[in-house]
Symmetry: C2
Subunit: 215 residues, 2 copies
């Protein structure tokens, strides 16, 4: 198919498709005639994937390129593909500060108390520790039960993420879901958390509001 058809079938504007191509995110099409390049179904999928990573996942062009490149290594070990996705997602959007040692230690302690096997290089430690630093900045020192609830929730989601991989037929499809699921699981959870907040606020017993000290 021509590039206009590719744009239509992926439901992504033509200017965006040309942009992806210029940035080296999209594999070249087959040259079928001196002035004609032909694209296949794999290109349609790839364009949709790039769109989702950039827009919904909020990845940078560089991070998207790293993710897409990882998917294109034939027969790459799954654990490696997962690692690339993890690091791509933790590519800072702005210049991010180094989290405090205390917060890093606290996050590692919570994972230990949950019996998790993790490596100190996992970028999740810094990401969680930076968030913890932000909470401490407003003098909220979360109790273990608070961080424990977050870790419980993370384990629930991670188990569902892993189970979903079993239904994918080919290793390529497994790798694709690993990467895209790692990126898009965050906004999926964030959206549902907003909804759960609304529900929890409504169903909250009114006593806890009247008991609270007035400022």
């Amino acid at each position: 198919m021509r590039i206009s058809e590719l744009s239509k079938r992926a439901n992504v504007p033509l200017t965006a498709v040309k942009y992806y191509q210029r940035e080296g995110l999209l594999p070249e099409g087959m040259r079928s005639a001196p002035n004609q390049v032909d694209y296949g179904d794999a290109h349609v999928q790839r364009v949709r994937l790039i769109r989702a990573l950039l827009q919904t996942g909020g990845l940078s062009i560089a991070a998207t390129k790293a993710v897409v490149a990882a998917l294109d290594v034939p027969g790459a070990p799954l654990a490696e593909t997962f690692e690339v996705a993890q690091h791509a997602m933790s590519t800072p959007r702005t210049t991010e500060s180094t989290p405090s040692e205390e917060s890093r230690d606290r996050i590692v302690a919570i994972t230990r108390s949950h019996g998790w096997h993790i490596s100190v290089e996992n970028p999740g430690i810094s990401a969680a520790a930076r968030a913890l630093d932000g909470l401490l900045a407003i003098r909220f020192d979360p109790p273990d039960s608070y961080l424990g609830a977050y870790a419980d929730a993370a384990a629930t989601v991670a188990a569902a993420d892993l189970r979903a991989l079993d239904d994918r037929g080919t290793l390529d499809e497994v790798a694709e879901l690993m990467v895209v699921g790692t990126v898009l699981g965050d906004p999926l959870f964030a959206g549902l958390r907003r909804l759960a907040h609304e529900d929890a606020t409504h169903t909250r017993p009114p006593t806890s509001d009247t008991n609270r000290a007035q400022s």
Copy 2:
């Protein structure tokens, strides 16, 4: 204190503090002499908060301004403060597409099956639906058990978020945690999810790998 002391005590570079001031994010200090402005402890807290919202939360200047303004309305109803935080966080970082009606319906259906009371204006619906669209783009149509696990996890976290509010003394502190917790809970969870992924990959029974079809 002078602005240089404010910068030191908040542990935020002086150029950043001046930038917050220029952008109208920081309340003015007291003019104590013709050439001297005096800042108090409230300014230190505010500078730390702005830093956390911008850097770790990834909010835009405009969204941060909305959040900070909501905190400064004396005696604002809590539900309203929560709403501002929710909308600020869903301010799109890039131009975001409208999610498909099918995905919106699917997200609403999951909340209904969990018995949640939510309004159709909650920005969480679009955020989650857009992520779902991205998953569908790689031909992963998540089963109800997958979305259900995410909703369960969101409910666990939301309950912990609400419980944390009870320990805050004043209404100002409650509002502050509502807003900052809404924003920073996302990266806290995302970091822990990366760690849970690593653990789940390690503890995964090796049989599921050998059973999988090769590409």
